[in-house]
Amino acid sequence: MEILVNGTPHLVAADTNVAQLLVILELQGKRLALEINQELIPRSQFDTTVLQPHDTVEIVHAIGGG
């Protein structure tokens, strides 16, 4: 199924959860925050949150800024 991650289309298997998505993206263990369809997903729910077709995922981190 296709999902949108940080504005770019990605193909992932059906029933992929957020934790698995982060492994696919090689982001596991990184300090990040994530929302799906503008809903914040707490880290504690990464294992139990299953992606749906056409989900819009945003993954963010801290960078330099004023």
Binding site: E26, L32, A33, R43, H61, A62, I63, G64, G65, G66
Partner: protein
């Protein structure tokens, strides 16, 4: 002098200089300038993680560690309430429940002037949601008071537009805001050099937040050190209480005992 600290949301800081981490040439320079500034509260931006590119690139939090600094995630680039609130919630999750945020809701890309109406709305939502909100705003004393009434932990009027380096353009407004406030008033944005920071502190600001004045200097690390001293000097001058201005001279050496 007895300990003079800045208290924000119940936490005491010995430094009254707050710095941003944008516009440096690399993380080594960010680290060196931040350390030279002596700042304890450090702003960061929240942006998309790079995916599939430079995945081993060093992370800002490696040089600005959470155990050494108080991070102040900002909502820079947000032009509406929804984006600002979303950004703060993501930042809180990113930083393990950390509640301190810098709210800014911009109204115009040319001036980066704050949209104070949207800022008031966002502040209300964030305060209700349990955030400790340090809020970037215009130098309008009425808006500053309303932001304080909403429950913001610090009100941060601009000295001049973000990144302009013009110094305090409207000192009497800043003074009015300071005199009416019970929360710390921190000048945020627009200082250009050390004397601008000193002037803000001499006026009685609780602190100054800056980024470009340091990162945009030819030697950012040296400017960070200059800013640290300017903030301290300005603060001490404020506490000392300056002499009254007089129109005519007043001799410093006694006139008694002259032999000529």
């Amino acid at each position: 002098m007895q300990q003079d600290t800045l208290t924000i949301a119940g936490k005491e800081y010995s430094s009254r200089l707050l710095v941003g981490t944008g516009k440096y040439k690399d993380l080594a320079e960010t680290k060196a300038a931040t350390e030279a500034s002596g700042a304890q509260i450090i702003t960061v931006a929240i942006r998309r993680t790079n995916i599939g590119q430079n995945k081993d690139e060093p992370n800002l939090l490696d040089v600005i560690p959470l155990d050494k600094y108080t991070l102040l995630p900002n909502t820079a680039g947000c032009y509406n309430v929804e984006d600002a609130v979303r950004t703060c919630r993501l930042a809180r999750e990113l930083l393990n429940g950390h509640k301190l945020v810098k709210l800014e809701v911009l109204g115009d890309a040319k001036t980066l002037y704050p949209d104070t109406i949207q800022t008031l709305k966002a502040a209300e939502i964030l305060v209700k949601d349990g955030f400790d909100v340090m809020v970037y705003t215009s130098d309008d004393p009425l808006i500053a008071r309303q932001l304080e009434d909403i429950g913001c932990v610090a009100v941060m009027p601009l000295a001049a537009p973000i990144g302009s380096g013009l110094g305090i353009r409207n000192p009497y407004n800043i003074l009015e805001i300071i005199e009416n406030a019970k929360v710390p008033i921190i000048v945020d944005a627009g200082v250009g050099t050390a004397s601008d920071a000193a002037i803000a502190m001499e006026m009685g600001c609780a602190g100054v937040l800056m980024n470009t004045a340091i990162a945009g200097a030819k030697n950012p690390v040296l400017m960070a050190s200059a800013m640290k001293k300017a903030i301290e000097a300005g603060r001490e001058a404020f506490l000392a209480g300056r002499m009254p201005r007089k129109r005519y001279a007043s001799a410093s050496s006694p006139l008694d005992g002259t032999f000529f």
